[in-house]
Assembly symmetry: C2
Homo-oligomer: 161 residues x 2
DNA sequence: TTATGTTTTCAATAAATTCTGAAACCATTG
DNA sequence: CAATGGTTTCAGAATTTATTGAAAACATAA
């Protein structure tokens, strides 16, 4: 019989649910939380085939989820002797998890904002009476951008478990 | 002629786009960013009717967006003499914005996780050889939860513009 | 009281996102 | 070389989320 659905144990289900809720909080899909959660609670490295079976998701969903988690460095591939399949383990240092997520999802946006502000700022000169107000507001956004950028570094330093 | 669509100026459109991108980064819908962005760049308090006209969104979307922004304390209602309509202004202190968002979206989830971990932890005893591994992992999640909780306070203290 | 202005609500619709699973691709085995 | 195991890709389907706009609700004016 083919290796189809394998049930999760109660504690596996509960821990996976914790991570499903957690990733949804930062705007990531449920399947990302499922995959990470299962790897997190697993005592040994896990193959994609096993992920598919235990979580009852498609191979496509498993593949794309693994790819995205790898891009966050939230999981890593690990070598298992005598196996052709790839095996994965969860990253379990909080600091690294946060760094990966920020680096991949937040930092590019904050950096791009810097460029866009350079482009927007000269526009205030076209607005006569409103120029002072607009300049003030854009200065505020610039300060928030700089603050966000340095905040990321602070957060990562603080999270030093 | 009815008060239908009023065009945005170039700088209004650019600033609104900045906030649309910003809110999408934290998993909120585009219309929230549009409304906040428009209030942010506006030199004076704005009515819902005006928001609807300038942003070309429905009255329902405007109403629900205003309600959600109010719940984050990202905007506040303000009195305009001689007007029956409600008028709104943007909160422009970064610290207050972050506090509102965390308080409304993040803190409740972190608090709930505390309760769920209390429920999950006793389950490890059922798993024989795996108990130590599971206990270790749940302890790690508990430490991450506590760290997240105190991190929120740190972030808000740091953001003291 | 009715009329009018304004906001809220929510079922239906539209749009966006996620997932599926088969085809394509790639690497290893025979 | 072909066969097989394993992963990636992606068009279409399914699901979820956001928006619409009319009805309902509410407050004020007449």
């Amino acid at each position: 019989m083919e290796n189809d659905n394998e049930p999760l144990t109660p504690i596996e289900a509960e821990v996976i649910n914790v991570f499903v809720r957690g990733v949804q909080l930062v705007g990531l899909p449920k399947s990302i939380g499922e995959i990470y959660g299962y790897l997190f609670i697993s005592p040994e490295p896990v193959s994609m085939d096993k992920i598919k079976s235990k979580l009852n998701i498609s191979v496509g969903s498993a593949s794309q989820g693994l790819r995205q988690l790898k891009s966050f460095r939230a999981i890593k591939a690990t070598y298992v002797a005598g196996e052709r399949k790839d095996y994965y383990v969860a990253e379990t240092e909080f600091r690294k998890l946060i760094y990966g997520f920020f680096n991949e999802e937040i930092k590019p946006q904050v950096d791009e904002l810097e460029q866009r502000l350079i482009h927007i700022k000269p526009m205030v000169d076209q607005y006569g009476d409103l120029s002072e107000h607009y300049k003030s507001r854009l200065d505020k956004v610039e300060r928030w951008r700089k603050l966000s950028s340095s905040l990321i570094g602070k957060v990562i330093t603080f999270v030093n478990i």
